[in-house]
């Protein structure tokens, strides 16, 4: 049994499981660094998974499906941006509304398109890449893609002009504005990036499972949110936390096949989350103005 824990299959399973956590977590980092709390990640995952399924089903090409998923993620995030940045509504309420909307919209559309409110038809999956065949773990294009996204995300956030401006509008929007930065525009950009990446995460869920099932995001958006907090609002930290969850989930899957009927094994990932949150990581300090819409002072 313990052999299986360090096997190649175990590693690749861990990576596979981590992707739909890591992509939205990295994306969420951008939204939150800009000062916009994004609990809509869950809804974005779900809508994107559904859009991917529909796109792939109609075109028979998973690439087109993924584009649909990412696009749907962007649109949903843009909605969150309009509500919480432009209209300055409460970001948590907007996020909850989008999450509820996502459940309803996907279920309703699933019934319309696939004649079942709980399952879609089966869709084609993705072929393995031949390109980096020397690194077997990267043969899954999504794993390779996530690694690339992660590195780019970290560099963008901490080394580029856009990253500096994004962090500044999350920490002290009045200061950013006094230097001529358009706070709303930068915040919108951060939210859109979270939509693209969470959309990609949703796409992977659908492609990996070859179908859409009702509520298939299953709380991953919230775990992603926890991961980015544990990762102290940095892409690398968030991805690390996601790997930890992926690993815990894989262990619990392995153990379930060894000990039948021990339901509490399924708790392992959540218990780990709680312990990590409770203090192994230390205090993580959020961006100063997270959750607070920016309004110019009156006088």
């Amino acid at each position: 049994m313990f052999d299986s824990l360090i096997s190649f299959a175990f590693l690749s399973q861990t990576l596979r499981i981590s992707i739909p956590y890591a992509l939205p977590a990295i994306g969420g980092t951008f939204s939150e660094r800009g000062g916009v709390a994004n609990i809509a990640l869950e809804g974005i995952l779900l809508i994107a998974a559904f859009a991917t399924t529909v796109g792939t089903f109609w075109s028979n090409d998973p690439l087109i499906g993924i584009c649909c998923g990412v696009g749907a993620g962007m649109v949903t995030a843009f909605l969150h941006g309009i509500i919480s940045v432009t209209l300055k509504a409460d970001q948590i309420v907007s996020g909850i509304a989008i999450n509820l909307l996502a459940i309803g919209v996907t279920k309703f559309s699933c019934q319309l398109i696939f004649n079942s409110s709980s399952n879609s038809a089966r869709i084609v999956g993705m072929e393995k890449w031949n390109f980096p065949s020397s690194i077997p773990l990267l043969e899954n294009p999504f794993v390779a893609g996530t690694v690339v996204v992660l590195i780019i995300a970290h560099v963008v956030l901490f080394r580029t002009r856009f990253g500096l401006r994004l962090r500044s509008v999350g920490e002290h929007p009045a200061a950013a504005e006094s230097l001529g930065i358009n706070v709303s525009r930068v915040r919108h950009a951060g939210v859109l990036i979270s939509g693209v990446l969470a959309g990609a995460g949703g796409a992977w869920l659908a492609i990996d499972q070859h179908s859409f099932t009702d509520g298939m995001s299953a709380g991953r958006g919230f775990i992603a949110l926890a991961a980015l907090i544990i990762g102290k609002w940095t892409p690398l930290g968030a991805a690390g936390a996601c790997l930890l969850f992926g690993c815990a989930e894989s262990i619990s899957i392995q153990l379930q096949s060894s000990f039948h009927g021990l339901q509490f094994i399924q708790l392992i990932p959540y218990i780990i989350t709680m312990f990590v949150l409770a203090g192994f990581i230390g205090r993580s300090i959020p961006p100063a103005t997270i959750g607070i819409p920016y309004e110019k002072e009156k006088h």
């Binding site: 002009r161 500096l164 401006r165 962090r167 002290h172 200061a175 950013a176 230097l179 930065i181 006088h299």
Partner: protein, 502 residues
């Protein structure tokens, strides 16, 4: 005459408030111009218009005789205008360099920031203008004086020719003020134009070439500094003669009322903030505490008022020890932040007047408040303390800063506690409100109360205190008689440069 800035007939309304009403404002190139007026006179609004934050409803702005439209700060910056705001516009978690280049980043083609180049430029600027600061330090680790240098460097980095400084001195020590003035004169000699917003008239006299006085949204006068005086400016600012008398009548009694013995306490971040500190205040005495922000004075006050548990030591009031007991110590507390600690802004005046006293038998029984008593208490205090408007059911949020402070003072002083702790009691108030606070404190001194006064305004400390204790890094460095010391001397102790006995 050549004006570098010429604002003509500027008007700006906020709702019913005429913040600026037909204002003419002009500054010559290469001079230091002071803009003075009480709170709410419209100084900040006018400068925010010049910096592109607000748009005037009427009027025009000429820069070097050319008509310009300043729709955004970015536009103002492009015309060489820069502003240091009263509350610094710095991002604590970023480095000095990041703060300075933000919005004007030097980047390679892909948008990567070239930080070594930026650091070099900043080092050059900081050499040239003698504003030493480490470009790689995080702003949160800097002192207030250093942060102000970063703000100035921000302007210089953008090649600002016109520098607006909004109340730059209240947060500085006297030495830092001197340094700042030196820097400003330096700017002037290099041909830059400086606008200094202030309400400290001694500073106007010390540094400016000319001065504009504003009152209630209008310009009262514009004169050359040499042809006016502090007294005349004060009269123009408030509209009539100003005569303040603060007479300390009786000497303090010899009976200590408040005794702090060997108190140590930690800050919110669990670092030692107060170290083995002892002091005692007699009845009828005001002890001032002078310290740069963050040297343990806030934590000390929290210990005395029962808001923070000390790690060692005790607080004794009128012979009774208060740390171990579960009762709140009998202290009237005028806290540092009116809106956050002193009031519930969305409660009415009468509700705020019983905050923290609601459980007294006068005001409440087992299950209910005695509304008639609450109201009559409010009615009486509003009258005695002259709270305006005298409307019991008005939300405190809608009062002016001065009247909000009156609500706090009315509530706290009517408790009739033997000890009064006042933390920055006049911060952000106008001349009349300040005078009210001062005379209230002096009256309580005459009534035999022991008063602890913390203030960053050294003039205020010198005026009110009997003795002044200087705190540095959680310890009292020295205690001096207020009448035998000066702002300068206090400033030296405040920076920790001299220890007691050295």
């Amino acid at each position: 005459m050549m004006f570098s800035i010429n604002m003509q007939h500027i008007s700006k309304r906020f709702g019913n408030l005429r913040a600026n009403d037909g204002v003419n404002f002009s500054v010559q190139q290469g001079e230091i111009h002071a803009l003075v007026g009480e709170n709410g006179a419209g100084k900040s609004t006018l400068m925010n218009i010049l910096y592109g934050i607000h748009q005037p409803d009427e009027g025009s702005i000429l820069l070097n005789e050319n008509l310009v439209k300043l729709e955004t700060p970015a536009r103002a910056i492009s015309f060489g205008i820069g502003m240091v705001h009263q509350h610094f516009m710095l991002i604590p978690s970023l480095t000095v360099t990041e703060n300075i280049i933000l919005g004007n980043e030097l980047t390679s083609m892909l948008g990567f920031i070239n930080s070594s180049e930026a650091e070099r430029t900043i080092e050059q600027l900081s050499d040239r203008y003698r504003l030493p600061v480490n470009p790689r330090a995080r702003v949160e680790s800097l002192s207030v004086g250093q942060q102000q240098r970063v703000e100035l460097l921000k302007l210089l980095y953008r090649n600002a020719e016109i520098l607006i400084l909004d109340e730059p001195t209240p947060v500085l020590t006297p030495q830092e003020v001197e340094e700042l003035f030196h820097t400003l004169n330096n700017f002037k000699s290099m041909g830059k134009t400086v606008i200094l917003i202030t309400h400290k008239l001694s500073e106007v006299m010390a540094i400016s070439n000319s001065v504009t006085v504003m009152r209630r949204g209008k310009v009262v006068t514009r004169v050359d500094t040499v042809s006016t005086s502090q007294i005349e400016l004060a009269r123009l600012m408030v509209g009539h003669d100003v005569e303040f008398r603060t007479v300390k009548t009786s000497p303090p009694s010899s009976m200590p009322v408040l005794v702090v013995e060997g108190v140590s306490a930690q800050s919110d971040r669990h670092l030692p903030a107060v170290r083995n500190l002892s002091l005692s205040i007699a009845g009828g005495e005001i002890l001032g505490i002078a310290a740069i922000e963050g040297n343990g004075q806030s934590e000390l006050i929290q210990v005395i008022t029962g808001l923070r548990k000390p790690t060692a030591g005790k607080v004794v009031i009128k012979g009774q020890e208060y740390l171990s007991s579960r009762h709140h110590p009998p202290v009237s507390h005028i806290p540092e932040d009116r809106g956050k600690q002193g009031l519930v802004l969305d409660f009415t005046i009468s509700e705020n007047l019983i905050l923290g006293r609601h459980q007294e038998k006068n005001f409440s029984g087992l299950f209910r408040l005695f509304n008639e008593k609450v109201e009559s208490n409010a009615k009486q205090l509003i009258q005695v303390y002259d709270i305006r408007p005298p409307t019991k059911h008005l939300r405190v949020r809608n009062l002016s800063g001065g009247n909000q402070q009156k609500v706090i003072i009315a509530r706290e002083l009517s408790k009739n506690a033997p000890v009064i702790v006042a933390n920055h009691p006049t911060r952000g108030l106008d001349i009349w409100a300040i005078e009210f606070v001062h005379s209230s404190l002096l009256r309580e001194r005459t009534n035999g109360k022991a008063i602890l006064l913390v203030s960053s305004d050294l003039e205020e400390l010198l005026k009110l205190s009997d003795r002044i204790a200087v705190m540095y890094e959680g310890e009292i460095v020295t205690i001096v008689e207020a009448k035998n010391t000066t702002e300068r001397e206090l400033g030296i102790y405040m920076t920790g440069a001299v220890k007691r006995g050295a």
